[in-house]
């Protein structure tokens, strides 16, 4: 069968909502798109552990510390589900790490912002994880089987992340003046980066159309962003706080909230490595990888020795 027929057959499967599995034929571009997207997503989970890990030792109570630990551990797990899914496409784990460490692979630019106060743990859970969930729920129906299955698992676990964040901010919002200020300040700093998480506007997102046709993506960046803004604009009222956007207001005709212009210059700057913490995050990951080298080698040597011994016994 020639490639054109194969591609037609492939698209036909996608249109009939039949999932693609690792050994099925797929266009090279589909494989590459998935490798890029899934590995970026995995890197985001792993780098995403850093801004929060920063606060584990300073959590204000044992309850909050246990919650934060569990959340960060989940993120490590989510990274692993996703790395495994990407590996089914023919890239190795080490190659992905290499791409992260060399700066070739990207991760979500949100994690290049610093976590300055305890309230940031709440804002990250509520806004950052909230935006992530909005993105991730449709991915549970992505056309590539291993990716979709990983996303189902992730979404199930992610929901507590958002709820604990909101609960944390709710406690602060009922606290004293300093606590209320800290709460508002965290919301102010995380709001814009959060809505940038949905990516460039639809007209500036050239790969989106193909991804939609392949059913990797189900909704456009702007659709998801609008949904998120509508949701958060209501939830913030319960906190008695505000979003830092003077243009935010309900538009009766559209049935949606209008919101102000996003600073895309900042978005591109952070993506291309000039965010406040890009260097620090990558340095930390590289150091962890290098410092762990002897552990990886020792475990492999130990396993080899045990295997050799077992063979000797058998002989």
């Amino acid at each position: 069968m020639n490639t054109i027929d194969l591609e037609k057959q492939f698209q036909d499967k996608i249109d009939r909502e039949i999932r693609i599995e690792p050994r099925d034929w797929m266009p090279e571009k589909y494989r590459q798109t998935l490798i890029r997207q899934i590995s970026q997503h995995a890197h985001s989970e792993i780098v995403g552990m850093l801004p929060e890990g920063n606060w584990i030792t300073r959590a204000p109570s044992l309850r909050r510390k246990a919650i934060l630990l569990a959340k960060v551990q989940d993120e490590g797990g989510h990274g692993l589900y996703l790395y495994s899914a990407a590996e089914t496409l023919g890239i190795t784990r080490d190659q992905m790490y290499e791409q992260l460490h060399s700066g070739k692979a990207k991760y979500s630019s949100i994690f290049n912002y610093p976590t300055l106060t305890w309230a940031d743990m709440g804002a990250i859970g509520w806004l950052v994880d909230g935006a992530a969930i909005m993105n991730q729920v449709p991915l549970c129906r992505a056309s590539y089987g291993p990716y979709a299955r990983a996303m189902v698992r992730i979404c199930k676990e992610e929901s507590f992340h958002q709820r604990q964040g909101f609960e944390l901010l709710l406690s602060l919002s009922k606290g004293n003046e300093a606590q209320r200020k800290m709460c508002q300040d965290a919301i102010n700093r995380w709001w814009w980066p959060s809505i940038m998480m949905f990516g460039p506007t639809d007209d500036a997102s050239p790969n989106s159309e193909q991804s939609m046709r392949w059913k990797i993506k189900r909704f456009s960046n702007d659709e998801l962003r609008q949904k998120f803004v509508d949701m958060i604009a209501e939830q913030v009222k319960i906190l008695g706080m505000t979003l830092p956007d003077p243009d935010l207001k309900w538009n009766e005709a559209r049935g949606h909230y209008d919101f102000g212009a996003i600073n895309w210059e900042e978005f591109w700057q952070v993506i291309s490595g000039n965010g406040p913490c890009n260097k620090q995050r990558l340095d930390t990951r590289r150091k962890a990888w290098e410092d762990g080298a002897w552990v990886r080698e020792a475990a492999a040597a130990h396993a080899a020795k045990k295997a050799a011994r077992a063979q000797q016994h058998a002989a």
């Binding site: 599995e21 690792p22 050994r23 589900y81 590996e87 784990r93 676990e157």
Partner: protein, 121 residues
């Protein structure tokens, strides 16, 4: 440069054929082997495939599987098997491979038309 690396991938098994593993950069390094993880969610149910992970040996694979796949009491028993030991049917041959079962509707109970008066059958 294209090279076929010696590595077995999840869902990508069988002798001599590395299927998807056609990539153009890098070399197979000293990576820990890949393991497939199967979990029994409670007594009485089958072990079910849940995903994969890297580990140096079986013991480590089981411990890592516990941390990665059972953080919320999802399992009471774990199997791990090195991915390279799994053999799978070839999706390209699926049509002919499953063909023998394709025209035997009489293997299903609904094939048989019985009077409504017949109970408990």
């Amino acid at each position: 440069m294209k090279q076929y690396i010696r590595k077995y991938f999840y869902g990508d098994y069988g002798e001599g054929r590395n299927g998807a593993a056609d990539i153009s950069t890098g070399q197979a390094k000293q990576e820990w082997p890949l393991w497939e993880v199967f979990i029994r969610s409670r007594q009485g149910l089958d072990h079910k495939h849940v995903g994969s992970l890297h580990a140096a040996d079986a013991q480590m694979a089981i411990e890592n599987a516990r941390d990665v796949y059972t953080r919320r009491m999802e399992g009471v028993s774990i199997w791990v098997v090195e991915s390279k030991h799994i053999h799978a049917s070839n999706p390209d041959e699926a049509e002919s491979f499953y063909d023998p079962a394709n025209d035997k509707v009489y293997r299903h109970p609904t094939f048989y038309d019985l009077p409504d008066a017949v109970k408990h059958m």
